[in-house]
Amino acid sequence: MFKQIYLDYAATTPTDKGILEKMMPYFSQDFGNPSSVHNLGQRAMMAVDESREKVAKILKCSPTEIIFTSGATESNNLAIRGAVSHYYATNGKNAPKPHFISSTIEHHCVLDTLKSLFKSDLIELTFLPVNNEGLVNIDKLKEMIQENTIFVSVMYVNNEIGTIQPIEEIGKLIKELNSIRQNKIIFHTDAVQAINYLNCDIQKLGVDFLSFSAHKFYGPKGAGVLYIKKGTPIKVIQTGGAQEFKLRAGTHNVPAIVGLGEAIEQIRNNNFEKIEELRDYLVERILKEIPASYLNGHREKRSPNNANFRFDNIEGEGLLLSLDMEGVYASTGSACSSGSLDPSHVLLALGLKHEQAHGSLRLTLGKHTTKEDIDFTIDKIKEIVARLREISGNVLKEFDPKK
């Protein structure tokens, strides 16, 4: 059979077979609507609440602080739009605009949501830059906070370059500021890429909102969580039912929520050391064996499963396509693969030139990755980079925009 090597675990993970088995009864057997009063409905409700408790145990919060959504995109929309909606509901529609801050390298579901609120003239917006390794600067954040700032959103781990942000420190700063502020600041973190690998104890992190999706840690697609610290101002945005403490209307996706609960329970059994070791081996060999290759992001402060390279005189889509034909599935920040004309906003935020960002390759490992997979992949990357460089020659160096 054609060998397939999956190195795109940051995009999504396969649902564990054991988790899938636990989900199955809730499709056709215990299929009740958790909002129904009868026994079948209540059995489904019990399953949803059991998952809620499992999530609360990992986040070290109360089950009543857990809202199930369809995924992190919805969670982030609810957190941001829900905070804006609450602000105007409380202060009146003519209230002065609230100020929001987010990093420049957030996922589009945060960036686009903020930008759309900004365009609608509902918020003031400031972007917190990152350094060339993808880290935000806390002193800069401190300077940006204004009297009308009510929301700070910084992702825990970046999805492209794996950089781990100092969430705990930011949490401390905001707590300190809030103790003497009239306009309290809500601190939100998108923890989609962190939940599987890093401590998401919300007491420790000091966050008010935290979001993630089940499908990033061997659960199913279609279920996510928004943690809402008790008392945090938020207003429902999707109306039409009293589900989820009246904060998210819509029939529960019971099988997926059951899968999410199972997946989060198994999170600490996943062997990160093995993944990190393999990742380090991959990085070391690529940088040593391929000339003009570089690692994007921070060497140490990064998710254990993430490697993001760039190669001079290479366009990422061609590299991805060639790997695909060898059965190796990866990802790139090149525009050519995304349908837009600009390369990754994350790589550009690091200060890379467009042509450098186009030459990037993201490999994200998971619990099924083996050393054989990595060795095969390294050998193929070496061949492909050499081949593509033969095709590209010196055209970039000789390129003269005036001609």
Binding site: G318, D324, G339, V395, F399
Partner: protein, 126 residues
């Protein structure tokens, strides 16, 4: 990526790859910002009827699969043709010859016919 088999074939086994030393015409098109740059080299000679023809053509391309495949296909389409014939070839024809391209690739990566025309102009100006 929804590329035709022919695109993948021309991407994996590019025809007419490389440089020509002291070319009669050359051109570079594209933009590093978009990620695609193509360079075309022409060797011009005369056929028995005395018309100028493209005797040899080579390319080098930094770019995605479509950029490499279209460069390669375009060189194949103009090799041996008279300059007037080669000048008439369009990006659209190159894409058709490859069995089509994904719509998103039609603008940014399908520049090879432009490059050929520019190389012919470069020769004619000399």
């Amino acid at each position: 990526m929804q590329y035709s088999k022919k695109v993948l074939d021309y991407f994996m086994k590019p025809r007419n790859l490389g440089e020509i030393q002291n070319p009669d015409g050359e051109s570079t098109v594209g933009n590093p910002k978009c990620g695609d740059i193509m360079k075309i080299y022409l060797k011009i000679n005369k056929n028995e009827a005395g018309e100028e023809i493209i005797e040899d053509v080579r390319f080098q391309t930094l770019g995605c699969g479509a950029a490499i495949a279209t460069s390669s296909m375009a060189t194949e389409m103009v090799k041996g043709k008279t300059l007037d014939e080669a000048y008439k070839i369009t990006n659209q024809q190159v894409a058709e010859e490859l069995g089509g391209l994904p719509p998103v690739k039609m603008h940014c990566s399908n520049l090879a016919a432009d490059a050929i025309r520019k190389a012919i102009e470069n020769y004619r100006k000399k």
